[in-house]
């Protein structure tokens, strides 16, 4: 990625900093649309869940979780379904655009976790969780970041597939069958949401820890003082 690196000179002080173009436009666009879509889908999904807060066919069921209405979108089941079914299309379209762009632009090499990243996993885990020395940064994302982003993309795809199985258990009966049936598809859809929320939580913590230059890069594409060029 160093091909995109430039030196930026402050005209007054003459100080030179580096900057890299880290996030292509399509990636940034998809990121922010997806952030909104995910927010709406989770909120409306939880409102839908409130209509039958359980799993399986047990009627009358024991409610699994009383989710507060204040943290849900849509006001009632019908309203939540409207939000969910509308933003589902936005989420899917963004996903297709994002994955298609990553593949055709070759930018996926920056994001995708591959076998080559395996040796770097343990040093990074040691650094994050056991105060180990920070391994040298050679590219935009370290192996754990790649793992997190690759997993998030996979979870995104699975969230769509499980959702389709719940929505169309007859026309897409093979999809529901692959997931172990309609009941399990609904459970997977729910669990995948929590997995995505866990990613989002970790993601937000890391964004806060990495500071302003890093945060701004998801808006402008350019990251000032990148670790992997300055070191």
């Amino acid at each position: 990625m160093s091909t995109h690196a430039i030196a930026v000179e402050n005209v007054k002080s003459g100080a030179v900093t580096t900057a890299v173009y880290e996030h292509p436009f399509v990636v940034r666009l998809c990121h922010w649309i997806n952030a909104v879509a995910l927010f709406v889908l989770v909120g409306s999904g939880l409102q839908i869940f409130r209509a039958f807060p359980s799993f399986g066919a047990k009627i009358p069921q024991k409610d699994l979780l009383h989710w507060p209405k204040a943290f849900a979108i849509g006001g009632w089941l019908g309203g939540a379904l409207q939000w969910h079914l509308t933003f589902m299309w936005i989420y899917i379209a963004t996903g297709i655009l994002y994955i298609g762009y990553q593949i055709f632009s070759g930018n996926y090499k920056q994001v995708l976790f591959t076998r080559r990243d395996l040796p770097g996993v343990w040093p990074m885990v040691r650094h994050y969780f056991f105060f180990g020395q920070k391994p040298p940064v050679k590219e935009a994302y370290n192996p754990l970041q790649k793992h997190a982003y690759t997993s998030a993309i996979a979870l995104g795809v699975l969230s769509v597939l499980t959702g389709l199985a719940v929505w169309k258990p007859v026309q897409l009966s093979w999809l529901a069958w692959m997931m172990g049936g309609f009941h399990l598809a609904r459970l997977w859809h729910f669990l995948i949401m929590w997995a995505i929320l866990a990613f989002v939580f970790g993601h937000l913590v890391m964004v806060i820890l990495h500071g302003w230059d890093n945060f701004v890069s998801m808006f402008t594409g350019w990251k000032k003082n990148p670790e992997y060029v300055s070191e």
């Binding site: 666009l29 009627i59 409207q82 589902m88 402008t220």
Partner: protein, 239 residues
């Protein structure tokens, strides 16, 4: 690395890149009260359109062995109004009208003369629960033939004794698993399950499967969609 860019130029580049993201702000339209309703409505309409495209007339809903049936006493009852609209079964008829050759009042005996179909299928409620039930009745497509429904018509609408109303696209109405159902679990329908006649449509969500039918119309234009649809639910809601 190229030669140094001055930071004013760099800031301009950054600004331009930031401005490219303005399309994201279009999503803010969903936060404007006046726009929210029509936007969500078109989202729902698009989902219905896609659902209708996805519907395959020859594709059957999964059927289940007897061992998979939900016991009858565990089969939930959801009504919009009353469990029992107290129909006088002796006087009950199904009033048929619209784009049909033989409009009129049809008795249950007349309907039951048609070939009987039984199926163990999944009944999915919009709330998220589902049960596997045994439903018996006549194929709606057979009945539509008897009444001489116009094959060019697009919808079948029904009215119910509890003032509920529903509608079906003709493709779903013609589906072999779409039944005018008069028996559940091999026994005549009980009042809370829609006696004497209800719809059973394994390719549709529960609220489309109206109970206590009193009238059936074949139409080209949909003037009454359905009770829950009028509250904001999906019109097509095919499974």
């Amino acid at each position: 690395m190229k030669s140094a860019t001055d930071d004013r130029k760099f800031k301009a580049i950054n600004r331009r890149e930031l401005l490219k993201l303005t399309p994201v702000l279009a999503l803010g339209a969903f936060a404007i009260p006046k726009l929210q309703k029509p936007l969500l409505k078109s989202g729902l309409a698009f989902s219905d359109w896609a659902s209708a495209r996805l519907f395959r007339t020859g594709h059957l809903a999964p059927t289940f062995p007897e061992s998979a049936l939900t016991p009858f006493n565990k089969f939930p009852v959801n009504d919009y109004d009353v469990d029992n609209p107290e129909i006088d079964f002796d006087k009950w008829t199904l009033t048929v009208g619209g784009a049909v050759q033989k409009p009129g009042d049809y008795t249950l005996a007349q309907i039951q003369e048609l070939p009987k179909t039984a199926q163990n299928t999944r009944h999915v409620c919009v709330e998220g629960w589902d049960v596997i039930g045994r439903f018996c009745g006549v194929q709606l497509s057979d009945f539509l033939k008897v009444i001489g429904a116009d094959p060019g018509a697009r919808f079948v609408t029904v009215e119910c004794a509890d003032d509920y109303y529903e509608s079906l696209d003709l493709a779903t109405a013609m589906h072999p698993q779409t039944l005018l159902c008069y028996e559940m679990y091999d026994k005549p329908l009980t009042p809370e399950h829609g006696a004497p006649l209800r719809l059973n449509i394994p390719t549709k969500i529960g609220y489309k499967q109206a109970k206590y039918l009193t009238a059936l119309h074949v139409t080209h234009v949909l003037d009454k969609v359905g009770y829950w649809e009028d509250q904001g639910y999906s019109y097509f809601y095919g499974l």
